[in-house]
């Protein structure tokens, strides 16, 4: 394993310090690894998210104007603890309440839920939404449901714009949930990531293999298959994602062509060319396109596509300005 690190035990803390040093409008609460805005407006709903680290810029990189109020940073790929999340809620509580945006993983749900219960005991008004955009996972009543992946960024962006515009907690939650309901994603890995504490790749692929439907922690996906070209990858992904949305000639969408960490922008733009071309061939207009590393999986090589079905309300909030380290417009 080759990484730029000092000490396995303090990776996340040192990273958080590096973030606030680069972005002086943010501050760090070191004990709980909370990255938060310095200026908190009591008249707005606060947005808190977070989860395991290793997905940078998610989530600390989305703290700032128009997106999150705070992000709670767990260890690499491990949910932050209940006390961590609880302290974030205490830090950013406003008169209008807090929306917790949780990626749907057992660990995250358990810790964030427990913290939300504790916060309610302290009379903090908290609502939760659970992002579950990964269509690689079959959805059923008998399982924990789908994973949250890069679609989470749209939820941060759109709910953040609603909160910034002054909407109340119920309204911010409604808009966040609407975003979740209309967001679907799928990804593939060309190569595994290496979790620092483990030191070796989580899985091994042959030189001509990819993992289609991979999760952002290196969890396996739908199947291991032979590598193919960009157009074919785009087609496979779109087939899966569009089957779950209701996009037709008269509906726009926004997309994120997301890099998983080790795949350079050159390949992402090339993939975007394949994706956008095929969406247009399917009579679907792309209203807005984001290409880059938004929700990574450490040093995994690969990419994901997220498609958000838009209506006028979502467009308005998607278009609003945002100024965070990892997302500016």
């Amino acid at each position: 394993m080759k990484k730029i690190i000092n000490n396995l035990e303090t990776i996340v803390l040192e990273m958080c310090e590096g973030i606030v040093k680069a972005h002086p409008e943010l501050e760090l609460i070191p004990r709980y690894q909370i990255v938060k805005r310095k200026d908190i407006d009591q008249n707005k709903v606060s947005l808190v998210s977070g989860g395991g680290s290793g997905h940078e810029p998610a989530h600390a990189g989305f703290v700032g104007e128009g997106m999150l109020t705070a992000a709670v940073c767990g260890d690499v790929f491990a949910s932050p603890s209940t006390p961590q999340v609880y302290n974030a809620l205490e830090e950013v509580a406003t008169d209008k309440g807090i929306l917790l945006i949780i990626k749907n993983y057992s660990g995250d749900c358990m810790n964030f839920d427990a913290a939300a219960e504790m916060a309610e005991d302290s009379d903090i008004n908290v609502e939760c939404v659970y992002v579950n955009d990964d269509v690689a996972v079959e959805d059923s009543l008998f399982t924990v449901g789908r994973r949250g992946v890069a679609g989470t960024v749209f939820v941060h962006k759109i709910a953040g714009a609603a909160a910034e515009a002054g909407a109340d907690l119920a309204e911010v939650k409604r808009i966040a949930q609407k975003t979740i309901d209309n967001t679907k994603s799928i990804g593939f890995a060309l190569d595994s990531c290496t979790v620092p504490s483990k030191g070796t790749p989580t899985f091994t692929l042959e030189d001509d293999e990819i993992e289609f439907g991979v999760g952002i922690h290196g969890e396996p996906g739908i199947e291991r298959q032979k590598i193919t070209n960009s157009d074919e990858l785009a087609k496979q992904m779109l087939d899966k994602v569009l089957a779950e949305l209701d996009l037709g000639a008269d509906k726009d969408c926004a997309i994120i062509v997301n890099g998983l960490g080790a795949t350079p922008l050159m390949e992402l733009y090339l993939l975007n060319n394949s994706i956008t071309k095929q969406l247009n061939e399917r009579d679907i207009d792309v209203y807005k396109t984001y290409v880059g590393n938004y929700m990574t999986a450490l040093d995994m090589a690969g990419a994901s596509i997220t498609v958000l079905e838009l209506d006028d309300e979502l467009k308005k909030y998607l278009d609003a300005s945002a100024n965070t380290p990892g997302f500016k417009q």
Binding site: D75, A78, S81, M110, E138, S197, K198, T202, F203
Partner: protein
């Protein structure tokens, strides 16, 4: 042999050591179908338990276990923090007022732990989680208590039950936890948490 607060403390110390010794093994188990961090997640919490163990309130068994629960909840990463934390928290409540534990008390404590985990995580037996080892172990302890076995014998029975439960997780499809994303592909691999319960019970029993 009475199990008082000092024996409980020594057991938690040993438990912590076992978990730390098996950190890499538990991570490996979690990489097959999970995200490979299970060993690191629990070792991190129990390393902290070991560090602070002599500062934890030993007024009563209950207060001692509660102190452990707080540390676990704060320092175990991932799903393991709330799972193990709520197990210890519930266990602490179940032994309130007791100065010494009989086998039946220990069984009751395990049972409370199971209920705590289920309340937090919503899993049931057969979902391919550590409950598939912990519930059989609890039942074995209950039975041993009824049959009047001593702690050592009871733990031996519980170990056997836990290990069988862990083996059984190879034959089922995960419904909770990260492994559930795999669908049928989680077959033939045991659940990391269940395997860990088996290992821990075995090592505790053997001293």
């Amino acid at each position: 042999m009475a199990v008082g607060v000092l024996e409980v403390k020594e057991t938690v110390r040993r438990l912590s050591e076992i978990i730390i010794e098996n950190e890499v093994y538990f991570c490996d188990l979690d990489s097959v179908a999970g995200d490979g961090d299970f060993g690191a997640s629990i070792a991190k919490g129990f390393r902290e338990v070991l560090k602070e163990i002599d500062d934890i309130d030993t007024d009563s068994i209950s207060s001692f276990i509660r102190g452990c629960a707080m540390i676990i909840m704060e320092h175990c990463g991932g799903a393991s923090g709330p799972i193990w934390g709520s197990a210890f928290m519930a266990a602490s409540r179940s032994v309130k007022g007791k100065e010494n534990l009989e086998v039946s008390d220990i069984a009751e404590m395990f049972d409370a732990g199971v209920a705590g985990i289920q309340k937090r995580g919503g899993a049931k037996q057969g979902d391919k989680t550590l409950l598939d080892a912990l519930i059989p172990a609890t039942e074995a302890l209950q039975k041993a208590g009824e049959e009047g076995k001593d702690v050592k014998e009871a733990f031996a029975d519980a170990t056997k039950a836990a290990q069988e439960g862990a083996e059984y997780t190879k034959t089922i499809v995960a419904a909770k936890g990260r492994a559930s994303y795999l669908g049928d592909r989680s077959l033939n691999h045991p659940d990391a948490g269940a395997m860990a319960i088996g290992v821990i019970m075995k090592e505790l029993t053997e001293g």
